[in-house]
Symmetry: C2
Subunit: 180 residues, 2 copies
């Protein structure tokens, strides 16, 4: 257990997943990320396995060999130090990177919309509209599915729904302004 570093987003998230899943393998955590509604979480093996070793070496999670399978496998649990680190990562206090304007690759691109010829511009907007609408519907389904289960998870999923709904409204606003 070396000196406490500040956790990256992925580290904090993985620590949180191990906390919420109880004793679980690295693959369970990985799957959660792979199946996440947001494409942001890649859940690549090359990220997860070394990361969890790292957390274990720092004493934030502990592993014991998994008896059930024939193959080498370990189940992880969060230690007391791990819970403290998770809480510190969660905040409060909430740093600017957490509460400030979040990144949005679609917004980033929009700043340079005029670099596209008019025809592509229109296609950019119509395709955005269509695809964002689709992803919004998917987010809505996910939230509805988890409605009865865990309230906090449902509320977190609602965040994605509201974010996508706002994005869709925004695209409509843009289209109106640029149609003239």
């Amino acid at each position: 257990m070396t000196a406490a570093r500040t956790l990256t987003e992925l580290e904090g998230c993985v620590l949180g997943l191990v906390w919420s899943r109880g004793p679980c393998t690295a693959y369970v955590v990985r799957k959660d990320l792979l199946l996440s509604a947001s494409p942001h979480w890649s859940g690549s093996a090359g990220a997860i396995y070394p990361l969890m070793e790292r957390l274990a070496r720092q004493g934030l999670i502990r592993s014991r060999p998994d008896a059930t399978g024939r193959r080498a496998s370990r189940k992880y649990v969060v230690t007391a130090a791990g819970l403290a680190a998770l809480r510190a990562w969660l905040g409060p206090p909430l740093p600017p990177g957490v509460v400030g304007i979040p990144p949005d690759p679609l917004r980033t691109r929009l700043y340079f919309l005029e670099a596209l010829p008019p025809r592509s511009r229109r296609r950019f907007l119509s395709e955005s509209e269509r695809k964002v609408r689709t992803h919004l519907a998917r987010a809505q389904e996910q939230a509805d599915r988890g409605r009865g289960e865990n309230l906090v998870t449902f509320l977190a999923d609602r965040g994605a729904v509201l974010a996508m709904a706002a994005r869709l409204e925004w695209i409509h606003e843009i289209t109106r302004h640029l149609a003239k």
Copy 2:
């Protein structure tokens, strides 16, 4: 000019900035990122200078020595190949990473809210509310400032405003549900 890779978000953004600023130094680009409303763009020198060299080596931007100063300095412009690469990066087509649910570190944390003791939970929410509100106001100001200038820039800034407004609404929703 080696074979075309797909650009990273930062590369695409920098290419776009050089395109929109006309001939400009690396520092001008860097400043734009440093002064950006979103904490996502760090604009660290160690990222920008090598990145722009990279783009130059690929023939996407071209530099000529800047005559005005005594010190070594170069101004960059986008080449024809650079404009093509910029347009390809902008899309359409828009990949899932661009139109899908964007990352939000606050939402990520919310999934694990129950790992906090009740008192911290309430502080987490009240601090979120307060800080998101502040950042929303700042985003609003930025949009208002650019209102008369460039329409597209204004509309892009509006995206940040709407995203933050949605976040604020979301926090209120959470607070209502958890107060009971």
